[in-house]
Symmetry: C2
Subunit: 141 residues, 2 copies
């Protein structure tokens, strides 16, 4: 390799190495990694009891409504669930029909969600389906 | 660049590029990303009410006990929280003292947790602190 070629190669190699470093940095500080490993978050967990607990159709409508919420940009992680078939114990409440669990970065993210048009539309379309809702908002310590 | 040098450079560049690709792949399929984006998980959310609701000391003991649980290997994500200062609404229950939110890959992961020595030790050390516990187990749909 002559000096010029070597200089070009080293520059290219450095650029590529820098590229690796950037990607590696992104990998260790990506939102998903930070969510689960480092960053304190706000968990917003809502449990829904249906007016017609036996109606699979109403449950599907509610689950479909809940899925529209995922487009709200301040939601970092969304889990839409139904009671799991874990062991029945006195302390376990499995009487609800569906649940939404959202993680937000902070109080502001949750406040944005509360008044977001997609959330308001969900309430407008689906609130006739439920008779009871319990909300737990927990901040990581 | 002569042919040999060029070949060497391309091989090196390919190796570096492969390095980038590997890191990028790791970034998109890391457990934390899968947890939040693709994989259906089981959320185990427990809310604790203290026997002495006003005791900061008892709350700290409980939170310290909860932190010991993070070493249980089937827990994919752990959030230990206290009521967040979100808007007070009729549907929001903020009467509890502390909460633990865990995500498991499946029912088996949660079952392993229930009988894990670290969990049993936590119950032995801390159960005298609480007067009520509510557990919600939700499976993603």
């Amino acid at each position: 390799m002559n000096k010029q070629t070597r200089r070009t190669f080293l520059a290219s190699a450095a650029a590529l190495t820098a590229g690796v470093a950037t990607v590696a940095h992104a990998a260790t500080t990506s939102p998903s990694t930070m969510e689960t490993k480092n960053k304190k978050q706000l968990a917003h967990h809502v449990f829904f009891w249906l007016k017609n607990p036996g109606s699979k159709e109403d449950l599907q409508k509610l689950l479909e409504g809940l899925r529209t919420l995922e487009k709200i940009e301040t939601i970092r992680s969304l889990h839409i669930g139904v009671p799991a078939s874990t062991e029945k114990r006195d302390v376990v409440d499995n009487s609800y029909a569906a649940s939404e669990l959202m993680l937000f970065d902070d109080l502001a993210g949750q406040a944005t969600y509360q008044t977001h048009p997609i959330h308001l539309k969900f309430i407008e379309n689906c609130s006739h389906l439920w008779e009871k809702v319990i909300v737990y908002d927990s901040m990581d310590v």
